[in-house]
Subunit: 220 residues, 2 copies
Amino acid sequence: MHMTVVLFDGYTALDIVGGYEVLANIPGMEVDFAAIDKGLVAADTGRLGIAAFRRLEDIAATDLLFIPGGPGVYAAISDPALLGHVRRLHQHASWTVSICNGAQILGAAGLIEGKQVTTNWFARDLVRAYGATVLDTRFHRDGNIVTGAGVSASIDTALFLAGLIGGEALSRTIQLGIEYYPAPPFGNGSPDLQPERAKRIIAGLEKTAPQRLAARNIPF
Amino acid sequence: MHMTVVLFDGYTALDIVGGYEVLANIPGMEVDFAAIDKGLVAADTGRLGIAAFRRLEDIAATDLLFIPGGPGVYAAISDPALLGHVRRLHQHASWTVSICNGAQILGAAGLIEGKQVTTNWFARDLVRAYGATVLDTRFHRDGNIVTGAGVSASIDTALFLAGLIGGEALSRTIQLGIEYYPAPPFGNGSPDLQPERAKRIIAGLEKTAPQRLAARNIPF
């Protein structure tokens, strides 16, 4: 199988790497990081850069199209070239995956109207606006579109997809390989059950993300 | 605070990004990705490259020294320049963190003799050989050294450290920001409780990791 990870300026790194670390471990999986242009692509913090060593237009087809989220999504959904490649590669892909508000990119590409999806808790209304039914689950499959909730949900989502591709034993073996037996130090839960104060802080950060992106001092 | 993420050829990407995504969200945290040389540094798969935009020798001091693991560790522990920088930066750091078999780098730098640490389940004997007591916990603090278990444990370990640095409310707010309410699709557990067949597969992959590293076809 061949997997394409779509990079765009201002992605959230864990959206990508949580999924990549699982899916790249499926035996025989080839992985290409690709963007509109080749070169380093900056994460939302401006302090981490991942290399796109392929241009999206040089990828004729892919089996697994992987689209992360992050504050860069707000610009990405206004980029007709990026949306065109997402639409084109989705057409013949076995699986299309979005993590976090990467679902907005699927929406802007016209791929989720009438479908059930999940996304980052903060982006639910924005994704619903594309005509999708938005669930509050950690991951969800509707046909060949698999969507994940925010950021770290990329791991659970990719293990779920690894199970669809290769079965439970494969997924559990990869889970051992990445030693994914999570133990959050202050407990588990769900975004909806967090204190209002924490929600207000994160919602404020989400709202100002585009301005903070523009103010980054990227060292490369 | 200033955080230095140490890059070396053949790191495991989620060891880094799981920790970075948490710690970079501590208010005021500056992050530098650094290696012996500037430039792209390849992950263990050879398909993902992260940029080192600083040389380790150009970093005079750092508050938080972050050392990932991966199959590249076997070469890293034979690199006196890398070990020298780890030793030097640890001396004045408030916190030194290793993830996975990154603990072997701490061991080779002489920093964990007589200390209690945790590591990837597969690397326990290798770490014990440096005179440390090796626990089977997900994360552990001994003085100003915080160690994490394998790969995805970087997230739990970093949330634990965020709690030490800024308190439980900060850690829980970051946890919401990265939506870390894990739900592994085939259940949670521990590496020690996995089926012997899965353990043999992963142990085999770990043992052949150096050969597979050498055979990578890195596209950059």
